[in-house]
């Protein structure tokens, strides 16, 4: 495939994904063309190839009509630099900064404030360099981060976090406000950075699945699947059909569980405690059945390289179908109550609006993107089996406010229930797992799965003796967090928890 003078070769596996080498000018021209043709910036990461005498490599992934386009740019071994992509896709900003913190490759002329490094390791220590000793511990430092200051009459700042008031992951939010109105929000994240990408190095392909399943606990199924898809693509492992159906079943169950939880908290944050007690009850019923059928309430480690670790037990399909019927009628009833509750709608409507044009500019996908007219859903656009036969209906809302993100969750629950019924009806018999085929040293592959929050991307490169050389996991939250900064502008401070919850982004997933 030739696009803009770049020769793309297909990557192994079921995804429509292509890779090409580019020089700096070629990368920028391609990025510009993607933007102009309605494509999307998806991911950015780096790798150390100095031991192979190839300096460093910058990897940039785009979502285009044909699927995933992966561009690779070779950088010098000494003082590696590349052009600033955030000029074209602002969403590249934090990824570029994180790539510098971990690998020491720099985007020329770009925002150079640290992102994942909080002065707790030295500025010249780059953990993802292959010669970096990851077991080294450094004395904690004290960071003086340069927040953008808003000045003017009556403007003041509210610093929040890293430890928040609720049961929630840590992050820091700096609000610049006048009266109750938010003029600007600036996020400082990276607090839960625990060295995941370095930890992958040297693990076996088999073991890596467990770690991938713990990048972001609420999306464990999506991560395990994306990881396994990459691991299986490396050596062209053929996964049994039954395993693929079970994976989709797990993924849709994960989607429903999270949407139920969010709908409850969204009611709660708008002072309707009834919503919380009802939806959290439904979620608990849902998790209990997952636990009873598959041995784990969140189905952690249920997806393994080559297939799945557990089968649907006898009578399981009937139990699940009965639960789907019960849940569907209860959620319809609760939706009616939410829809007709004036106080709730008053809080939801027009609050935290992310306009579609802005959503496009920020490359946001996933649930929050779809609630702002961004029609990206891998289950329809780049479906891996069994999604290629399910005809998933993409859920689009146009208003981009809290109400739109609530409505999208309701609709996605109903669509996932339809998919679960379809999967149970057509579930093929057969094996649960194939043996993972060995991967050749230096080969790489991509896994890309639509989790409940958005697209989870895993890039995997094999090293010696079936070990992992490099694994990059990209959470959809990387691209959605900056959108939240915009959605809060002009709203009042007390609406922030509600708006934040309506996005419900991952800290751990993006802190790595």
């Amino acid at each position: 495939m030739k696009l803009l003078d770049l020769d793309f070769v297909p990557l192994p596996g079921a995804l429509k994904a292509y890779r090409a080498s580019a020089d700096a000018a070629g990368l920028m021209a391609f990025a510009q063309a993607v933007k102009e043709s309605g494509g999307r910036f998806v991911a950015l990461w780096g790798s150390d190839e100095r031991d192979l005498k190839r300096g460093f490599t910058l990897h940039v992934a785009f979502g285009i009509e044909q699927g995933l386009a992966l561009l690779e740019l070779t950088l010098a071994a000494e003082a590696p630099e590349y052009p600033d992509l955030s000029e074209i896709f602002p969403a590249a900003n934090r990824l570029q900064r994180a790539t510098y913190d971990l690998l020491g490759v720099k985007a020329r002329g770009a925002d150079s404030r640290p992102w994942l490094r909080h002065a707790n390791w030295p500025a010249d220590f780059f953990p993802l360099r292959r010669d970096a000793d990851a077991s080294r511990q450094f004395p904690p430092g004290n960071e003086d981060y340069e927040f953008v200051r808003v000045e003017g009459d009556g403007v003041h700042e509210i610093p929040v976090g890293p430890i928040h008031a609720g049961i929630i992951e840590p992050g820091h939010f700096r609000f610049s406000i006048v009266g109750e109105k938010v003029l600007r929000l600036e996020q400082r994240l990276g607090w839960t950075h625990k060295g995941i990408e370095k930890r992958f190095e040297g693990l076996t392909l088999q073991h890596g699945a467990r770690l991938a399943g713990r990048v972001s606990g609420d999306s464990t199924v999506a991560y395990s699947w994306a990881y396994c898809l990459a691991a299986e693509s490396l050596g062209n492992t053929v996964v049994p059909a039954r395993a693929l159906f079970l994976r989709a079943l797990f993924l849709e169950r994960e989607r429903i569980a999270n949407h139920l939880g969010d709908l409850g908290y969204l009611g709660n944050d708008a002072a309707l405690a009834f919503g919380f007690s009802q939806f959290s009850r439904l979620k608990e019923d849902w998790l209990r059945l997952s636990g009873a059928l598959f041995g784990h309430r969140f189905m952690m480690d249920a997806i393994v390289p080559g297939g799945v670790a557990c089968d649907l037990p006898a009578g399981g399909a009937e139990k699940m179908l009965a639960q789907c019927d019960g849940l569907e009628s209860e959620v319809h009833l609760l939706k009616n109550i939410y829809d007709e509750h004036a106080g709730l709608q008053d809080r939801f409507l027009t609050t935290g609006r992310l306009a579609p044009e802005l959503a496009t500019l920020l490359s946001i996908g996933g649930l929050a993107g779809r609630a702002s007219s961004q029609a990206w859903d891998l289950r329809t656009q780049n479906p891996v089996p069994p999604y290629d036969r399910l005809e998933t209906q993409i859920v689009i809302q146009r208003n981009g406010d809290v109400a739109a993100r609530v409505a999208a969750r309701f609709e996605e629950i109903f669509e996932s229930l339809r998919l679960i019924r379809l999967l149970l009806k057509d579930m093929p018999a057969g094996e649960l797992a194939a043996t993972l085929a060995p991967a050749t040293e230096g080969s790489s592959a991509i896994g890309w799965i639509e989790g409940w929050r958005g697209d989870v991307l895993v890039s995997l490169t094999a090293g010696r003796d079936g070990a992992i050389r490099r694994c990059h996991c990209q959470d959809p939250s990387w691209l959605a967090w900056p959108a939240l900064e915009h959605a809060i502008m002009g709203n009042i401070v007390p609406d922030f928890p509600l708006i934040n919850k309506s996005f419900n982004l991952s800290y751990s997933g993006a802190d790595l």
Binding site: I163, I167, K194, R199, R214, G217, R281
Partner: protein
């Protein structure tokens, strides 16, 4: 409103009986005297701190507030500040970036500062271990009274851990 009330009545009370404490989870001997434990009863204020978890443990801590476990009915509630807390419920391997914040939250907590470490990561660093970015288990940073293993521990197991922290032998 009619639909809402009808749904409440139809749902009824779902709360289940709480589990018993489990001495096996105790890391350090009970520091509180019987008289104090009696006084405290179960009127416990908890401050949750995510020191670097994957958010899996948080999902189950959230579940403690659902109608089945209904932890608040036992007199146990989550507070917004460590200054109001009797007990810190700490998840995660302690990320290097959170070490200072966790230490400060501990310093702000009034005595007797009960600490329950949650999850395999909180107990022993879990799959993340110790590295340039992770301090490993919670006890490497602050003293721990009770440790609840699991990945993540079930809500039932979390309740056992919390109740153990406020029970005598």
């Amino acid at each position: 409103m009619y639909q809402l009330l009808k749904q409440i009545v139809k749902t009824g009370i779902k709360t289940e009986a709480p589990p018993m404490p489990d001495e096996g989870l105790r890391v350090t001997a009970q520091r509180l005297e019987k008289a104090m434990l009696d006084k405290l009863g179960r009127a416990l204020a908890i401050r949750h701190i995510d020191a670097g978890s994957c958010n899996g443990c948080e999902l189950e801590i959230h579940a403690l507030s659902n109608p089945y476990y209904n932890i608040e009915a036992l007199g146990i509630k989550f507070t917004a500040s460590p200054k109001h807390a009797d007990l810190l419920l700490v998840t995660g391997p302690v990320a290097k970036n959170m070490e200072f914040a966790l230490q400060r939250a501990y310093d702000c907590t009034p005595a007797p500062k009960l600490v329950v470490a949650v999850g395999d990561c909180g107990c022993n660093g879990g799959i993340f271990g110790e590295s340039y970015a992770s301090c490993g288990r919670v006890a490497n940073v602050i003293p721990v009274d009770v440790a609840v293993p699991g990945c993540p521990p079930t809500p039932q197991a979390l309740m056992v851990g919390i109740l153990t922290a406020i029970s005598g032998k």
